[in-house]
């Protein structure tokens, strides 16, 4: 197959722990591909609390979730990890030669000698809005993200929400749609001020509509909506719509990880504390997703797990090769890899 990506290691999850794993594996010359369903690195730190301070990262009296993510990205840059965002790893199977085959919902195939599951609290998935029967329209006329802009060309689009996603897509889609209505509960937005201003300009220019209200019922047939009902202070309204994009934030769901035949403990992956290996040799689990006696769901625990996991991963990729323990402070070999010597 031509679109197969072959690599030493695939890391599932680009949270802080998955990112630091790139570093530890990189010191041992292992090349990594990182896959995450989010559109950027950082996992919970970037998605749930980018501006909040963290006080228990060793060596940092205080650092924000985004700050830690940015620093980790800088720290692993020398190893040239390849990121694949906006896709979910859907399957993991062992091949006859002992390597692993992973597929994503973006129809890619990865073949790796080692798999590191750093899936944290699970994959971030869009929250379904409180609208009865919405499932029937999902993927056909109701979308929670925009994969192909063309799906929205010449459509009557309703976007719901007041955050950056809602505002960004309002601005991006406006030039190609037939009509666009933005719906939000109140006239205050949690989005970049520049986007909010631009949106208001478009409303003034009559290019889009903005309605204060909530979505209620959907009308349509065979997965295709034709009207969206809105509950508004000013009275209820039904507007014609052929596409609906609700942005109600994200929630973490364990997702496909549960179906990969790994031994689980209360929805967490059981590992040993020497290698952080799962019940399937060659598949490791580190960070919030794993379970072992005494586990603490802390970033620093995940970092420690990454270091030990890397040693074990090396012996899977290069069996028999002796791993010499070295410090980054004094080893010119390691410093060369880091691009500083």
């Amino acid at each position: 197959m031509s679109n197969e990506i072959i690599t030493d290691v695939v890391i599932i999850g680009g949270g802080p722990v998955g990112l630091f794993a790139v570093f530890e594996l990189g010191l041992l010359d292992l090349k990594c591909h990182v896959i995450d369903i989010l559109d950027r690195p950082g996992g919970q730190c970037a998605e749930l609390y980018p501006e909040k301070p963290i006080y228990d990262i060793p060596g940092f009296p205080m650092i924000t979730g985004q700050g830690l993510t940015d620093n980790l990205m800088a720290q692993i840059a020398p190893f040239g990890p390849q990121f694949h965002f906006n896709r979910m790893v859907t399957s993991l199977t062992k091949l006859d030669d002992g390597s692993f085959r992973l597929t994503t919902d973006a129809e890619e195939v990865f073949v790796a000698k080692v798999v590191v599951i750093a899936a944290g609290g699970g994959s971030f998935q869009p929250k379904r809005p409180p609208v009865e029967g919405i499932e029937a329209y999902e993927g056909k006329s109701v979308f929670y993200s925009v994969r192909k802009m063309d799906d929205f060309r010449d459509q009557d689009v309703v976007i719901v929400g007041g955050g950056d996603s809602a505002l960004d897509w309002t601005l991006n889609l406006q030039p190609i749609v037939r009509s666009l209505t933005l719906v939000h509960r109140r006239d205050a937005f949690k989005a970049a001020p520049a986007s909010v201003n631009r949106m208001k300009e478009l409303v003034m220019e009559g290019k889009i509509n903005f309605l204060l209200g909530q979505i209620g019922k959907l009308d349509g047939a065979d997965g295709q909506i034709d009207h969206v009902h809105l509950t508004m202070d000013a009275g209820d309204l039904s507007i014609p719509a052929t596409r609906l994009l609700p942005f109600f934030g994200l929630t973490m769901k364990l997702g496909p990880v549960a179906d990969w035949g790994l031994e689980l403990n209360d929805n967490l992956i059981s590992v040993d504390t020497e290698k952080f290996q799962t019940s399937v040799p060659g598949v490791f689990a580190i960070g919030d997703i794993n379970h072992y006696p005494g586990k603490l769901k802390l970033i620093l625990s995940g970092f420690h797990e990454a270091a030990l996991m890397a040693q074990a991963a090396k012996s899977v990729v290069a069996p028999g090769e002796r791993v010499v323990f070295q410090y980054t402070t004094s080893s010119t070999k390691l410093q060369k890899k880091l691009g500083v010597a």
């Binding site: 749930l48 609390y49 509960r185 909530q214 929630t251 769901k253």
Partner: protein, 106 residues
């Protein structure tokens, strides 16, 4: 200080409340079925509770962010609140809340 929490199965629990703690933290600490995914950052709505009317009226009103999140749940009622936004103090001794379905772990 005590708070009374009814879980999603209708079982009532009397929990020792602590001054200055978030109601969500007490419920979570006790091991009841609360997801509280964002850890109290008022950004997930998975700590949703119904507060008995008598106590509901004593609470400071919700912020806009809290209201937005409550509207994103399937099971919002007039006495809905996010339990991570209810800071405990002696005035709330005896408060009664019920865990919403949408607060349950997956």
């Amino acid at each position: 200080m005590k708070i009374h929490v009814t879980d999603q199965d209708g079982q009532e629990h009397e929990l020792e409340g602590l001054d200055g703690w978030r109601t969500m933290e007490v419920i979570r600490d006790w091991g009841l079925n609360i997801k509280a995914e964002c850890g109290g950052a008022c950004s997930c709505a998975t700590c949703h509770v119904y507060v008995d009317q008598e106590w509901f009226d004593k609470l400071p009103p919700p912020s806009d962010d809290e209201e937005d999140l409550l509207y994103s749940t399937l099971d919002k009622k007039p006495n809905s609140r996010l339990s991570c936004q209810i800071l405990l103090n002696e005035d709330l001794d005896g408060m009664r809340v019920t865990l919403a379905k949408s607060a349950a772990k997956d």
